[in-house]
């Protein structure tokens, strides 16, 4: 594990054309890392994430991605991701190829990747047209024991997984507390694992059975307070639901979107400055 400024971590480990999974289910979404990728103008990324959320709306709208693997692409509780829609419906700023799964399939795919397997297994394919779309890859299999029809889902093995977490200790072990989503599976599936954390502590304030990623599975970590905003970090700050509601307006039009990104992401040096422009940090 190397402890690096976020700019250097992204600069070193996220290359044009890479497959990149920013995970964290509603909770601990690594916004700061996503916005740093935008600032560094990465191109041709294959973005992977169960719920693209606002962070991928921003990255897609800024032209970082040509491919998206996902299972639910909305603004939770609010509505559409307008930039994602614009890319899919009208190819702006560039076309986006979709590889679309259900949550259950994608969870199995991450778990397979985390387990060093080429595929994972599920019960019979559910009767969905998703099995017929371009990019559909789920295969049927007859169970040799029960005769049941099962499904095989190809493993997800991102080049880089990026997570946000609460704490890193002096030895480089990382604590994730609260809703964990598929963070652990995405972490273990990746070739390289980048972490942003709220703070560095001497010893993790963690239970014996807490979700801790040992330092030696981590490629690099960066200390980025507020790095999940407007998502949240359990024990640090809550989700800014008002921002999620406001995003619907900001992102609806290309012009208002671009203006917001210019001002708050491209126009600032780092995440701390972004939080200040939004009045979230002093």
């Amino acid at each position: 594990m190397r402890l690096l400024p976020l700019r250097d971590a992204i600069g070193t480990y996220v290359k044009d054309g890479a497959s990149v999974a920013l995970e964290g289910f509603t909770h601990l979404i690594p916004f700061a890392a996503g916005q740093e990728i935008i600032r560094q103008q990465r191109r041709g990324l294959h973005l992977i994430r169960m719920t693209p959320d606002l962070v991928y709306d921003q990255m897609i709208g800024m032209g970082c991605a040509t491919r998206l693997t996902f299972s639910w692409g909305g603004n939770p509780g609010v509505g559409s991701l307008h930039r994602l829609r614009d890319a899919v419906e009208r190819g702006w700023p560039q076309p986006l190829t979709l590889a679309e799964f259900t949550h259950a399939e994608m969870a199995v795919a991450y778990e397979a990747g985390a387990s060093g397997l080429p595929c994972g297994i599920m019960r019979r394919p559910v009767a969905s047209d998703l099995a017929k779309v371009p990019g559909a890859t789920v295969q049927e299999l007859r169970c040799p024991f029960s005769g049941d029809t099962l499904a095989l889902v190809p493993a997800l093995k991102p080049d880089v997984t990026i997570l946000h977490a609460q704490q890193i200790d002096a030895r480089g072990n990382v604590l994730i507390r609260g809703i964990v989503g598929a963070a652990k599976e995405a972490a273990m599936a990746a070739t390289q694992l980048l972490i942003t954390v709220e703070e560095q502590v001497d010893t993790l304030r963690a239970d014996m059975n807490a979700l801790i990623l040992p330092s030696w599975v981590i490629t690099a970590a960066s200390i980025v307070p507020g790095g999940a905003y407007p998502s949240y970090a359990q024990g640090y700050y809550p989700r800014d639901n008002a921002f999620y509601l406001a995003w619907d307006e900001i992102a609806r039009e290309r012009s208002s979107f671009s203006a917001w990104m210019d001002r708050h992401v491209l126009g600032v040096a780092d995440h701390a400055a972004l939080l200040r422009t939004l009045g979230v940090a002093a």
């Binding site: 509603t26 996902f70 559409s80 829609r85 559910v126 507020g226 639901n241």
Partner: protein, 267 residues
């Protein structure tokens, strides 16, 4: 209570809540399903077990989450499990009694579209997509659908079948041996539709007070069958409305509270 005293949305939420028996294990989606489940929990079904796909099991939120992973859920849960387990150990394993679904389109057999309007490759409207819905539709012992009824959403032909209801009807679902029984009720802003036991076609079986069969038919994109005399759903009780409005008020307050983050940038 007269129709002027409550909105259609409220009537719909109250009706959905009433479908839930105490002690049932519900897989809850965001929005109206979450409101309905929590209303039920705060009224007639205190032991309702709410499972959200974020991995939170047995949650008892005081405000409604905007997303399915708000800290409110984590803080009030019996336990938090990794997300994959919600789909393997709970849903696929057959431990969910009731799945709650919404969609952009539904057809007469309760099949649902939440993927695209138009062609998949060149959609008019790209919708959020499947999420947990296809597996909920397949594995939950029974499904409740909650959707506003319009001729554009209750359609003769889905643009895309994301999640299965009764497929082509007349036993087609059973023939595929899907573990769950399928949609037991579709709660709309007009009333309640239930599947005919033989044809599996949705039939209007109950109407809200003051709502006519004709208006419900006009809001349906296929020739809607109706029970000979649809029941009239009793209007919301005072307590149901109070609890629901309190919940929404607390939620609005929580969701507009400004966030402040302390940052000590490392040097």
């Amino acid at each position: 209570m007269s129709a002027a005293d409550y909105t259609r949305d409220e009537m719909m939420t109250v009706t959905a809540a009433r479908q839930l028996r105490n002690g049932a294990v519900c897989f809850v989606g965001i929005g109206l399903p979450s409101a309905a489940c929590n209303l039920a929990r705060l009224t007639h079904a205190p032991d309702l077990v709410l499972v959200y796909e974020s991995g939170t099991v047995g949650v008892q939120p005081v405000v409604l989450p905007l997303s399915i992973g708000d800290s409110e859920l984590a803080e009030t849960a019996t336990c938090i499990v990794p997300l994959p387990e919600i789909f393997t150990h709970y849903l696929q394993r057959g431990r969910i009694d009731v799945g709650f679904l919404g969609a952009a389109q539904i057809d007469r057999f309760g099949n649902l579209n939440s993927t695209v309007i138009g062609d998949y490759a060149h959609p008019q409207v790209r919708l959020p997509g499947a999420g947990g819905a296809p597996e909920i539709a397949a594995y939950a012992r029974e499904v409740l659908v909650v959707m506003k009824q319009t001729a554009r959403s209750f359609v003769g032909q889905l643009d895309f079948r994301t999640s299965c209801g009764y497929l082509e009807g007349a036993g087609a679902r059973q023939a595929r041996r899907l573990p769950g029984a399928g949609p037991k009720a579709v709660i709309t802003d007009y009333g309640v539709l239930r599947p005919d036991p033989t044809t599996d076609e949705l039939e209007l079986t109950a109407l809200y007070p003051g709502v006519t069969i004709d208006s419900a038919r006009a809001a349906t994109g296929w020739p809607l069958r109706t029970a000979r005399t649809p029941e009239v759903v009793p209007p919301p009780e005072r307590r149901e409305l109070e609890v629901l409005r309190d919940l929404h008020a607390r939620t609005r307050a929580a969701h507009t509270r400004p966030i402040k983050i302390e940052i000590e940038v490392p040097t």
